[in-house]
Symmetry: C2
Subunit: 188 residues, 2 copies
């Protein structure tokens, strides 16, 4: 009996999965995710709809892969943040890394933003930043004097996310350095 090596995907599988994935991203630049139908993806990808269902349960399963890729890329980008958990320095360093990362991926983030009413991109940013912050919070659970750590982080996470989203939208108004400079002034 012929047996297939494990973990080695058939070329056809790789090809169709890549194609479906790329086509979804393409469509996200045109439409809301909710507006995108499985048949839209298949038509554009020139792949039979039954083949789609052979790989994914539904379009949500496909988009999860995309979102978690963006998340892990961003998470990786800010993970090398080596600073101790001194609030101001930490957030400044983090936002520098985020902005750098966004600058590289500008196109895709912007395209999604313009069609998907903030929510996807905002979810990504909030999730990744939250994870990083909470991880550090656990390691540095000094009982804060005046303000609970959780409140501080909630405040800054919101502020940073908001700045990032705005920066993605109006790409050329301020440079990365400008933003960091302003944040430096805005944070205590």
């Amino acid at each position: 009996m012929i047996k297939k090596e494990e973990n080695k995907k058939d070329l056809r599988v790789i090809k169709t999965e890549n194609l479906l994935y790329a086509t979804l991203i393409d469509l996200l630049k045109e439409k809301t995710f909710e507006e995108i139908k499985v048949s839209d993806i298949c038509n554009k990808a020139l792949i039979n709809r039954s083949t789609f269902y052979a790989h994914y349960q539904d379009k949500y399963e496909l988009v999860v892969g995309f979102i978690s890729t963006l998340k892990s890329e961003l998470a990786k980008a800010i993970k090398d943040n080596g600073s101790t958990f001194n609030t101001k320095e930490y957030y400044l360093e983090m936002i520098e890394m985020i902005l750098t990362h966004i600058e590289e991926k500008k196109k895709i983030y912007q395209d999604i933003l313009t069609n998907n009413r903030n929510s996807i991109v905002m979810d990504i940013l909030l999730d990744v930043i939250n994870n990083d912050v909470n991880e550090r919070l656990e390691k540095n659970l000094k009982e804060n004097e005046k303000i609970p750590s959780k409140v501080i982080s909630t405040f800054y996470i919101g502020a940073v996310t908001s700045i990032c989203i705005e920066w993605m939208k109006n790409t050329n108004e301020y440079s990365k350095e400008d933003i960091i400079h302003y944040l430096n002034l805005l944070m205590q």
Copy 2:
């Protein structure tokens, strides 16, 4: 020919519209908006589906009314903010009003939050706060010295929204006064 007074709705119309509206809100406590079907609303409201379509094009038209009601209630609640556009005082006063308003409407906001992944509530908060801030920005367009006004407001709007959402979720952890006190410390 019998003619109807204009602007005066038939009782039946009022009744069904109220019913559909209330039923949608009820369902939002159980399901995501995307998961709610027109037939769900009609079944629960005991109203024929064709009657639904006689009033609204689709469920989006129905929810728009709900969201804009929440928005205008919130907008009204923060409009009486009489302070001049001194950043810190303005935002503190605003957040006090928002928190007071939320406290009254706690139940509905929380219910929606738990089922709808932040986005609806976040959209409401961001939109209302943005409008208020932008209105004041226009009236006070002093060319800021060090930081562009737009950047300042983006920063604080994000921070305030984030704090509000977190507060809605963990209702009893901090009092309204606590939050305001912490924000007072966090803002320059």
